[in-house]
C-alpha cells in the first residue's frame, strides 16, 4: 500500500519537471455534436508526447506543437475520443459526439467525483432523474424500488409519510442499523427514524411511523442517484459506509447561454386500499360458540346468516335497532377513504460562464386512506456556484424541509386499525361515523371490547411537525490545471416535534351495554422532541495528471471531521383528568419526563490513488484511518485499505466487433472499519422503574407518606476494551456492451464478511446482568447481481427499452459469542419470536408449532384441540431468497409508456392482523367445514405411557364442536394466544407492479409560438397489482410495524405486521412544463 502511494507521488514530482521542445501554436474550439454548445474541460494531447492542454469554458484551446505537426487526441469522458492530423493547420475545430458503444458513461463516485464507468473496479449503479420521477413518488427511496439490483428497499406500509428501509447486499451488522448511508452532494445526511414514545412504555402500543429522514428529500430536485453497493465503492466514506452508500446528486443550474429555465410540475393522485384480508361471509355476531348471538360481542362466531330481521347492538334510550342478519362483505374496505395527493413544484435555474443557480419549491399535500390523517410537506432548495477569482470556485446549497402531518396509529391497543377488526361480519363500520348518533358513543356502542373507530379518529391524533435545514458550502482552489484543493462543510439540523394524544374514554351511562363490561380508559398525552444535528467537513486535495502518453493518474488526500448530536426529550402524561384537553397540565398525578442525549465525533484521514494505463487498465487503491469518540482511548484509531482493478478487454486486445462492443472485467478487495454506538464502554446505573407485564412503577417513588428516589444497577456489562468492527469484502464483476452498445450486461459476484461485531451478547441473567458488550460474531453475505438492459427493439421512431435486474444474496450468521448459538431480537411477547442464530440467515423466526408424533400425526388433547410442541421450532427468516426488478419503456415520438415490476421471493412475515381475525372468527379459514363438527384430520390422542415412559397414542375421535368441550372457536382463537403460531407466519414473497406511466410530450412545432420549451402530460399508476404467496391473503408482505426498524430500544426489528395501514393503489395525472 505504502509503496503504491510512493510510486504515485514520485510520478507527479517527475512530471512537474518534464519539458519538451515546441515550435508553433495550434488553437481551436471544441463543440458538442448534439447542440453545438462549447465543451469545456476536453483533454487535448499531442499524440506520442505528454504535451497537452484542456479547453477553457468557451471550449477553446491552444497548444504548442512541433513545426512538423502531428496528431492531436481529443478526449473527454463519455465522448468518443478523436484523433486528428494537424497537418499544416493552425486552427483545428472539433465536434465531439457521445460514445454509445463504449463503457464510457460517467457515473458519480465517492465525494461526488465523476468517473468513467470503465475505470471502476467495483459495482456502481445509477438512476437518473427521469427514471426517478416517472412514477411521481413522493419518496425518493420508494422510487428506486425495483431499479437497483441487490438493493432491498422496503416501504413500511400504507401510512402517510411512512418510512423506507434500504439495505444493500444484505445485513452486515448483527445489531447495527444495516441501512445504507445517504450522502447528498458529498455530505452525509441524517437518516434517523423513530417511533413515538408511548406512555405505557410498551413499544408495540399505538405505534406511529414518523418516517425516516432520507425520505424528506424532494425527488424533483434530484439529478441522479448513485448506489455504491459494496465496501470497495464506499471505503472512502469510512465507518458508516460498511452497509453501502446511496449518493444523491441534486440538480444544479446550467449555463445555457445565459438563459434561465423554469420547470413547473404538477401532479394529482388518488389512492385506494389495495389489499384487505379475505374474510368469511357466512357467520355473524356471536361468541363462545353458544350460538346465542350476544348483541354486544365483537366476534363472528354466531349463527349462519339467514337474512332474517334481527335485533343488533345495544339498547339506547329504550331503542333496540333491527337489521337483516346478513354479511356485509366489504364492511372493512368501506372504512377506508380515497387518499388524495396534490403535488406542485416549481424550479428556476440558470447560469452564465461564471455562475449558476438553482431554486426550487415544492408543495405536497396529502390526505390518507384513514380519515383524519394528512401529510403536508414543503421543500425549498437553493444552490449556486460561482467562479470567484481565476482559480477559486465556490458553491453553496441550502435546503429547508417542513413536514406537518397527522399520522395514523398502528400496533397494540385502541386505535382505528385495531378497532375495525373487532366488528362482526354483519355490522356496517361506516354506520359508526356519525358521532352524534347515540348508538355510536362509547356508552351506546355495540360492544365493550372495542371503541368506535370513528370515535378514536375524532379524538386521538399523532401530530408531527418537522423542520429541517441541511446544506453545504464548498470552496475549491485550482492552483494548477491538474491540482484542486477543496474544502466542503455540510450541516444537517432537524427538529421533529411530535404530539400524541389518546383521549379519555368514559362510560357514563349505567344503562349502556358497556357500562359493566368496559373499563374507562384514562387517556394519555405525550410531547416528544427529536433533535438531530450533524456537522461534516472534508478537506480534499486532488491531483490528476497524465504521466506519460499511456499513464494517467489521480491522487487524492483528504481529511474528514464528523460530529453528530441527537436528543430525544419530552414528557408524557399517562393519565388525564379532563376529556378532550390535550395538555401536559391535564395530568392526574405526575407526568413523566424523558430525555436521552447522544453525541459522537469522528476524525478521518484518507487517501486514494487511481492509475490508468492506455485507457484500458485501471488500478485504484484507498486507505482510510478513523479516530472515533465511541471507542475506548487505546482502541479508537483504526485503518482500512481497499484496492480495485478494472480491465477493458476489448480495448486492450482490440477485439471489439458487431456482437461484443466492449467488455470489462473488474475485481476489488476492501475493508471497512466501524465504530461502536456511543456509551458502550462503561457500565451504568438507571433510574429505577420496576415493571410487570403491562405497566410499571415509576421513580421517584411515593408510598403515600414519603417520596424517595431510586437508582438501579444497569443490566449491561460495559466494555472498556472495545475494538472496532471490520467488514472485509471481495467483488468480481463483468461489464459488457453488446450489439453496438445497444445491450448492456453487468454481473457482479461478492463475498463479504463482517467480523468482530460489537454486540450486546446475552449472558445468564443470574450473573446479575443480561448482556455484555463484546466484540464477537460474524455475518457473511455472498451474492450475485445481474443487470441486463438496453434497446431491444427499434423500428423507426418506435423504441422499446428494457432493463431487468436480479440479485441473490446468501446471508449467514457465522458466529456469536462462545457458548451461544442464538440471540434474541424481540421477546416482548410477540409470537413467533425473532432471533439471530448461528448457521442461519440473519433474523429467524422461532415459532410454536403443533405437537406431532414421530410419524407426523397431530397430537390433540382430550378436548380434540391440537397441543403445542413444547419445543419451539425455527422456521422462516427475514431474508428473501432473491429479489428482482423489471423496467420497460416503450416510446414513439413524444409518447412513452414505462412500467416497473418489482419482486421479492422468499422470506417471512408475522401478521398480527391474521391472528386477530382468527380470534374473531372473521378470516375465511374460520368457516372451515361450514362450522359443522369436525375432527382434526390425521390426529391422535395420548392415552397413557408404555413401560419406557413413552406416550401411547390412539386415533382421535373427539370432534371440535360449536358448543362446549373443544370448540372450533377455541381451535382458531388459540392461535392469537400464541398457540400454533406458525399459522400466522406468512411467506413474504410478492410481485408488484410498482409504477406504470404514460407520458406525452407535445411536439416542439406546437410550442414554437408559446413561451413553453417543453410540455409533457401524463397519467400514472402505482402498486396497481400485487401478487402474494399462496398462504397470504391477508396483508401486503412489505408491511412492517416498526417503520425502518428502529422501534425505541430495538434495531432491525423487521418482519412484523401489527394492524398496519394497508398499501394503496395510486392513480394520478401529471403535467410538466418548462419555460
Amino acid at each position: 500500500m505504502r509503496k503504491f502511494l510512493l510510486v504515485g507521488l514520485l510520478s507527479f514530482v517527475v512530471m512537474a519537471h518534464h519539458a519538451i521542445a515546441q515550435d508553433r501554436t495550434v488553437s481551436g474550439k471544441v463543440t458538442a455534436s448534439e447542440d453545438g454548445a462549447a465543451l469545456p474541460g476536453v483533454n487535448v494531447v499531442l499524440k506520442g508526447t505528454a504535451t497537452g492542454a484542456v479547453t477553457d469554458s468557451e471550449g477553446n484551446f491552444a497548444l504548442r506543437v512541433p513545426n512538423a505537426g502531428g496528431t492531436l487526441v481529443f478526449s473527454f469522458i463519455g465522448l468518443q475520443t478523436q484523433e486528428i492530423e494537424i497537418g499544416s493547420r493552425s486552427t483545428v475545430d472539433v465536434i465531439m459526439t457521445q460514445d454509445a458503444k463504449q463503457l464510457g458513461e460517467v457515473v458519480v463516485t465517492s465525494f461526488g467525483i465523476e468517473r468513467e464507468r470503465k475505470a471502476l473496479g467495483y459495482s456502481v449503479q445509477e438512476v437518473k432523474s427521469e427514471d426517478l420521477v416517472v412514477g411521481r413518488q413522493t419518496s425518493v427511496l420508494n422510487s428506486l424500488q425495483g431499479k437497483i439490483a441487490g438493493a432491498q428497499i422496503s416501504n413500511a406500509g400504507g401510512g402517510l409519510g411512512s418510512s423506507t428501509r434500504v439495505v444493500l447486499r444484505g445485513p452486515t451488522s448483527l445489531l447495527g442499523n444495516n441501512q445504507a448511508l445517504f450522502v447528498v452532494d458529498g455530505v452525509p445526511i441524517n437518516n434517523s427514524s423513530n417511533s413515538n414514545v408511548q406512555a405505557s412504555g410498551n413499544f408495540f402500543d399505538n405505534v406511529v411511523d414518523g418516517g425516516n429522514r432520507a425520505n424528506d428529500l424532494n425527488p424533483e430536485d434530484i439529478e441522479s442517484v448513485s448506489v455504491l453497493k459494496g465496501p470497495a465503492a464506499a471505503a472512502l466514506y469510512g465507518s458508516r459506509a460498511a452497509s453501502g452508500v446511496i449518493l444523491i446528486t441534486t440538480k444544479k443550474g446550467k449555463n445555457i447561454n445565459g438563459k434561465n429555465e423554469v420547470v413547473f410540475n404538477s401532479s394529482y393522485q388518488l389512492s385506494k386500499v389495495l389489499v384487505t384480508p379475505k374474510l368469511q361471509n357466512r357467520f355473524g355476531q356471536g361468541q363462545l360458540g353458544d350460538n346465542q348471538s350476544y348483541l354486544n360481542d365483537q366476534e363472528s362466531w354466531g349463527d349462519p346468516f339467514d337474512n332474517s330481521l334481527r335485533p343488533y347492538g345495544a339498547i339506547v334510550n329504550n331503542i333496540q335497532q333491527y337489521k337483516r342478519y346478513a354479511a356485509l362483505p366489504t364492511n372493512i374496505e368501506d372504512f377506508y377513504e380515497i387518499g388524495k395527493s396534490f403535488q406542485n413544484s416549481l424550479s428556476l435555474s440558470g447560469g452564465n460562464d461564471k455562475s449558476t443557480y438553482y431554486l426550487s419549491f415544492t408543495d405536497l399535500a396529502q390526505t390518507g386512506v384513514i380519515k383524519t390523517t394528512d401529510y403536508h410537506r414543503n421543500n425549498f432548495t437553493l444552490n449556486g456556484s460561482t467562479q470567484l477569482a481565476n482559480k477559486l470556485r465556490s458553491s453553496a446549497s441550502i435546503n429547508y424541509v417542513r413536514i406537518n402531518a397527522n399520522l395514523p396509529q398502528t400496533g397494540q391497543r385502541n386505535h382505528a386499525m385495531s378497532n375495525i377488526l373487532n366488528v362482526p361480519r354483519d355490522y356496517s363500520i361506516r354506520d359508526f361515523e356519525d358521532l352524534n348518533n347515540p348508538f355510536n358513543t362509547p356508552d351506546g356502542f355495540f360492544t365493550p371490547f372495542a371503541v368506535n373507530p370513528y370515535y378514536t379518529l375524532a379524538h386521538d391524533y399523532a401530530h408531527q411537525d418537522m423542520n429541517r435545514v441541511y446544506g453545504n458550502f464548498q470552496l475549491s482552489y485550482q492552483p494548477l490545471d491538474w491540482m484542486t484543493a477543496t474544502a466542503r462543510v455540510g450541516t444537517d439540523v432537524s427538529s421533529d416535534e411530535r404530539n400524541t394524544f389518546a383521549d379519555i374514554v368514559e362510560y357514563n351511562n349505567p344503562a349502556g351495554p358497556n357500562y359493566q363490561g368496559a373499563f374507562n380508559y384514562n387517556g394519555e398525552y405525550t410531547e416528544q422532541r427529536l433533535n438531530n444535528r450533524e456537522l461534516d467537513a472534508n478537506f480534499i486535495l486532488s491531483m490528476t495528471k497524465k504521466i506519460s502518453e499511456r499513464f494517467e493518474g489521480t491522487w487524492l488526500v483528504g481529511y474528514n471531521f464528523n460530529q453528530r448530536n441527537a436528543s430525544n426529550t419530552g414528557a408524557t402524561a399517562p393519565d388525564l383528568t379532563i376529556p378532550g384537553y390535550d395538555n401536559l397540565g391535564n395530568v392526574n398525578g405526575n407526568y413523566v419526563a424523558f430525555g436521552a442525549f447522544q453525541k459522537r465525533r469522528l476524525f478521518g484521514a484518507y487517501t486514494s490513488l487511481d492509475l490508468s494505463y492506455n485507457g484500458y487498465l485501471f488500478l485504484g487503491a484507498t486507505y482510510r484511518n478513523d479516530w472515533s469518540s465511541t471507542l475506548p482511548k487505546g482502541n479508537n484509531s483504526f485503518g482500512y485499505p481497499s484496492v480495485n482493478m478494472s480491465f477493458v478487454i476489448t480495448d486492450a486486445f482490440e477485439v471489439s466487433n458487431n456482437v461484443l462492443s466492449s467488455a470489462k472485467i473488474r475485481a476489488s478487495y476492501a475493508e471497512v472499519g466501524n465504530d461502536a454506538n456511543p456509551y458502550q464502554t462503561a457500565s451504568i446505573f438507571n433510574q429505577a422503574g420496576p415493571t410487570g407485564a403491562f405497566a410499571g412503577i415509576t421513580f421517584p417513588f411515593n408510598n403515600g407518606s414519603v417520596i424517595v428516589p431510586g437508582f438501579s444497577e444497569g443490566d449491561v456489562i460495559g466494555n472498556p476494551n472495545l475494538q472496532p468492527e471490520i467488514t472485509k469484502s471481495v467483488e468480481f464483476g463483468l461489464d459488457t456492451r453488446l450489439f453496438e452498445g445497444k445491450i448492456s450486461l453487468d454481473v457482479a459476484y461478492y463475498d463479504s464478511k463482517s467480523e468482530s461485531q460489537i454486540l450486546n451478547a446475552a449472558v445468564a441473567p443470574s450473573s446479575g446482568y443480561n448482556t455484555q458488550v463484546i466484540n464477537v460474531g460474524s455475518v457473511s453475505n455472498k451474492g450475485v447481481e445481474v443487470t441486463l438492459g438496453g434497446r431491444v427493439l427499434s423500428l423507426g421512431d418506435f423504441n422499446w427499452d428494457l432493463s431487468v435486474n436480479f440479485a441473490k444474496n446468501k446471508n449467514r450468521v457465522e458466529e456469536l459469542n462462545s457458548g451461544n448459538t442464538e440471540l434474541t431480537l424481540v421477546n416482548q411477547g410477540l409470537t413467533p419470536g425473532l432471533k439471530i442464530r448461528v448457521g442461519e440467515p440473519y433474523g429467524v423466526f422461532e415459532a410454536t408449532t403443533t405437537l406431532r408424533t414421530a410419524d407426523g400425526k397431530i397430537v390433540v388433547g382430550n378436548d380434540g384441540i391440537p397441543l403445542d410442541d413444547p419445543n419451539p421450532v425455527y422456521i422462516g427468516t427475514l431474508q428473501p431468497d432473491w429479489t428482482g426488478g423489471l423496467s420497460s419503456t416503450l416510446s414513439f415520438r413524444g409518447l412513452s409508456l414505462s412500467a416497473t415490476l418489482d419482486t421479492r421471493q422468499g422470506g417471512n412475515i408475522v401478521s398480527s392482523t391474521m391472528a386477530q381475525l382468527y380470534f374473531n372468527g372473521q378470516l375465511e379459514e374460520t368457516a372451515f367445514n361450514d362450522r359443522e363438527e369436525w375432527i382434526v384430520p390425521n390426529s391422535v390422542v395420548q392415552t397413557g405411557t408404555d413401560e419406557n415412559n413413552q406416550p401411547i397414542y390412539e386415533p382421535n375421535t373427539t370432534p371440535l364442536t360449536m358448543y362446549g368441550g373443544g370448540t372450533y372457536r377455541q381451535y382458531w382463537a388459540n392461535i392469537q394466544g400464541g398457540a400454533r403460531n406458525d399459522e400466522v407466519l406468512l411467506d413474504a414473497s410478492f410481485i408488484k407492479l410498482r409504477e406504470i406511466a404514460l407520458n406525452y410530450s407535445l411536439p416542439k412545432s406546437l410550442l414554437e409560438k408559446t413561451p413553453f420549451g417543453n410540455v409533457t402530460i401524463g397519467v400514472l399508476g402505482r402498486n396497481l397489482w400485487l401478487h402474494t404467496a399462496k398462504n397470504n391473503h391477508v396483508i401486503d408482505p412489505e408491511a412492517n410495524a416498526f417503520g425502518a426498524g428502529n422501534a425505541p430500544g430495538f434495531v432491525n426489528v423487521q418482519g412484523y405486521e401489527f394492524y398496519g395501514i394497508p398499501t394503496q393503489a395510486t392513480y394520478g395525472v401529471n403535467l410538466r412544463a418548462t419555460f
Binding site: F603, S712, D715, S766, S767, N770
Partner: protein, 482 residues
C-alpha cells in the same frame, strides 16, 4: 517544489489535528445515566422491585394455582396457568426482575443485583444497617426462588463483573442451609444505635428492631418449610432459634410496602389486572364455597359480589374459557382492598409469623402453646381484613382449635387469599391442605399438578451450566408430596 509544500502542509495539518483530537474525542461518558449509585438510592429500588415482582407476577400465578382466583370467562391472559401449560417462556421477565433487571430507565429493577450492590457499598461505607437489610432481603428472595424453581444459581450468582457469566445452579437444600448462615451474619450487622436508612427503607422505615423480628421470623419460615423433608434439621434449628429468646413479627406487624396510588405509584397488582387487562380474574368456586360454608366474613372484603345477581358466585376452577359464560356472572377480587391503587404489597405478614409459630408449637418444637398462637394467627388475619374473628375461634365456632396441624395449614391457606398468593400455593404444595381438585383445563394432561416453575428460556439459553429441564410436576426438594 510547490507540490511537496502542499503535501507537507496537509500532513502538518493532519498531524496537528491528530495530536489534539484525543481530548476532543473524550466525550463518551453517558450523559443520561449515572456511573454509580449509593445504598440510600438503590435500597428503595430493590425493595419496590421485589414487591412489584411478587405482587404482579408470582402472586397471580399462586392465587390461581391455590384456587383463590380463576381465569375469567371473557379473557384468556392466564389460561396457560389453568391448563398447567407452564413453560420456559413464562416468567422470563420475572426471572430478570429478580436477578438482573432489563436495562434502561423505566425498566425492571434487578432485585438481587441491586441488593448485592447495596450490601457491598454499605459495608465499604460502614453503613452496616443497610447491609443487614440488603442481606435479609436477599435471603428472603432466594428462598422464594428455591421454593419456585428448586435449584437456582446462588453461590456463583450476581458475579458477572467478575467474569462469572454462566453461574452454576446450586441444590435447593444447600441454598437453604446457607440462607440460615446469611441471616445470622446479617443480624450481627444490625446496630440500632448506628445510622439507619430512615425513609429509604420503605418496608420498616429504618426501624432496625423490626428488621431483627423479620430476621427471626424468616429463619423460622426457612426451618418450618423443611419440617417434612428434613424434620431433624428443622427441629434442631428451631430449638436453637428459640434458645435465643427471639422476637418475631407480631400479628399487626407486616413487612410491606404501601403505595400512594398516584400515577405510576399504584399497587402493581392493580396495574397488572385492572388498568390494562380487566376481566382476566374472577373468584374461584373452591374458595368462595369454603368461605360461604363457614360464613367467613372475610369473603366480603376478599371479593366483590357478581354484578349480575349480587352473590359471591365463584367460577369452577379452569372453566372460564370453555363454558364460563359472562364475566359479570361471577364474583371477583375486591376492587377496593385487593385491586386498589393504594393496596399494600405484603412480603411477610404478621399472621404468617403467628401461623409459623403455631406450627412449631403444634409440632412440639418450641415449647409454646399452639392453641394460643393459632388463635392469635386467625384473629390477626381477620383483623388485617378489618373483620373480627373472635366468634370463629370461640368454642363451637367454625374455626375453633382442634389440636391438628391440618387445621393450622388450612387456616394459613385461607389467610393467604388476596395477598401472598405464591405463599398460598407453596404451602399447599408442602402440606396438601386443603385437598384441591384439578383445574378443568388442566385435567386433560393426566396426573399432573404444577409443583414448580420451569427455568425460563432466557436463563437456560445463555447458561451452559443450567441443568436439564424438570417437568412442571416434579416436586421441589422440600416437597415430600402428600
Amino acid at each position: 517544489m510547490k507540490i511537496n509544500k502542499i503535501v507537507f502542509g496537509v500532513a502538518m495539518m493532519a498531524g496537528m489535528v491528530m495530536t489534539s483530537c484525543e481530548d476532543v474525542l473524550d466525550i463518551n461518558t453517558d450523559p443520561n445515566n449515572p456511573p454509580t449509585s449509593t445504598p440510600q438510592l438503590t435500597l428503595p429500588a430493590a425493595q419496590v422491585g421485589l414487591a412489584t415482582t411478587l405482587e404482579s407476577q408470582y402472586n397471580i400465578l399462586g392465587s390461581i394455582l391455590a384456587h383463590y382466583w380463576t381465569q375469567g370467562p371473557t379473557a384468556s391472559q392466564y389460561s396457560g396457568f389453568e391448563q398447567y401449560n407452564i413453560t420456559t417462556t413464562n416468567f422470563v421477565g420475572a426471572w430478570q426482575a429478580m436477578y438482573s433487571g432489563s436495562g434502561g430507565a423505566g425498566f425492571d429493577t434487578g432485585v438481587l443485583s441491586d441488593l448485592k450492590f447495596v450490601k457491598t457499598a454499605a459495608l465499604e461505607d460502614n453503613l452496616n444497617n443497610y447491609a443487614a437489610i440488603a442481606q435479609l432481603l436477599q435471603v428472603y428472595s432466594f428462598q422464594i426462588l428455591v421454593d419456585l424453581y428448586d435449584q437456582v444459581p446462588y453461590s456463583e450468582a450476581l458475579r458477572g463483573k467478575e467474569g462469572i457469566l454462566s453461574p452454576r445452579f446450586d441444590a435447593g437444600a444447600e441454598i437453604y442451609d446457607d440462607l440460615v448462615v446469611k441471616i445470622d451474619e446479617a443480624m450481627g450487622w444490625i446496630d440500632p444505635t448506628a445510622p439507619g436508612p430512615g425513609t429509604a427503607d420503605l418496608i420498616f422505615g429504618g426501624n432496625m428492631n423490626l428488621w431483627t423480628r423479620f430476621a427471626n421470623t424468616l429463619k423460622l419460615k426457612i426451618y418450618i418449610r423443611q419440617a417434612f423433608a428434613r424434620p431433624a434439621v428443622a427441629q434442631a434449628g428451631i430449638a436453637a432459634l428459640y434458645a435465643t429468646n427471639p422476637q418475631f413479627l407480631e400479628g399487626s406487624q407486616h413487612a410491606m410496602i404501601t403505595f400512594s396510588g398516584s400515577t405510576g405509584n399504584e399497587n402493581p397488582l392493580w396495574q397488572e389486572l385492572d388498568s390494562t387487562t380487566p376481566q382476566n380474574v374472577v373468584a374461584s368456586l373452591t374458595s368462595t364455597q369454603r368461605l360461604l360454608d363457614a360464613a367467613d366474613s372475610r369473603i366480603t372484603v376478599l371479593y366483590d359480589p357478581a354484578p349480575t345477581g349480587g352473590q359471591y358466585t365463584g367460577l369452577k376452577q379452569g372453566t372460564g374459557t370453555t363454558d364460563g359464560g359472562q364475566y359479570n356472572n361471577y364474583a371477583r377480587p375486591d376492587a377496593s382492598i385487593i385491586l386498589s391503587t393504594t393496596a399494600p404489597v405484603i412480603l411477610m405478614s404478621g399472621y404468617e409469623s403467628l401461623f409459623l409459630q403455631a406450627e412449631a408449637a403444634q409440632r412440639g418444637w418450641s415449647g409454646q402453646s399452639a392453641q394460643a398462637l393459632y388463635n392469635a394467627a386467625v384473629l390477626a388475619s381477620f383483623s388485617f381484613w378489618g373483620q373480627n374473628g373472635a366468634s370463629f375461634i370461640a368454642p363451637g365456632g367454625a374455626y375453633a382449635y382442634n389440636n391438628t396441624l391440618d387445621q393450622i395449614y388450612y387456616q394459613k391457606w385461607l389467610s393467604f387469599n388476596g395477598k401472598q398468593g405464591y405463599e398460598g400455593w407453596t404451602e399447599w404444595r408442602r402440606t396438601g391442605v386443603p385437598a384441591l381438585t384439578k383445574s378443568v383445563q388442566g385435567a386433560p394432561l393426566g396426573n399432573v399438578f404444577p409443583l414448580r416453575l420451569i427455568w425460563p428460556t432466557n436463563e437456560t439459553s445463555s447458561n451452559p451450566n443450567a441443568p436439564t429441564l424438570q417437568a412442571v410436576d416434579t416436586p421441589v426438594w422440600w416437597d415430600t408430596t402428600f
